[in-house]
Symmetry: C2
Subunit: 93 residues, 2 copies
């Protein structure tokens, strides 16, 4: 019996202090390397930037990028709770 297992790798892009365009390019590069799913994660003040990165990605890639889901919540960070957003996007073709 031959089993073919296709592993869909999900890659994480941590949104931080770099310009929005840097994260857009990083995500496009990940898509070009063959991963179809990317999670854009931002914490605290970088939550807003994570949404900026998503919008810039959509404006650049158009219909070929699909919003899978948006998770929000809080992570424990240095003993305090910090809000986060995790935006899962998928490259369609």
């Amino acid at each position: 019996m031959l089993m073919v297992v296709i592993v869909e790798e999900t890659r994480l892009v941590n949104i931080g202090a770099k310009p929005v365009e840097d994260y857009v390019f990083e995500t496009i590069l990940i898509f070009q390397e063959g991963s179809s799913t990317v999670v854009l994660k931002g914490s605290g003040a970088f939550i807003s930037k994570a949404v900026d990165v998503y919008n810039a990605l959509v404006s650049r890639l158009g219909d070929s990028v699909e919003l899978v889901k948006v998770d929000i919540g809080s992570d424990r960070f240095k003993g305090r709770f910090k809000s986060f957003i995790a935006i899962t996007v998928r490259k369609k073709y």
Copy 2:
């Protein structure tokens, strides 16, 4: 024929410059007034604060508040595109 139409009112809370707790109280007040669904909307830098308000609301109300959906995108504002988040929450009981 008697028709009973139940209108579920959805109320909008625009997240701006006020402290997080103010928006939490505003949302709880809306729930107490009988509306079960509230949309927390934040634009630009207030996106992060909208998630803070959601987390503070969950930590205060616990299981009785439910996350319905999270929408992200961009709105045209003064000729420019501005990122937004719209967090829909529902009071369960």
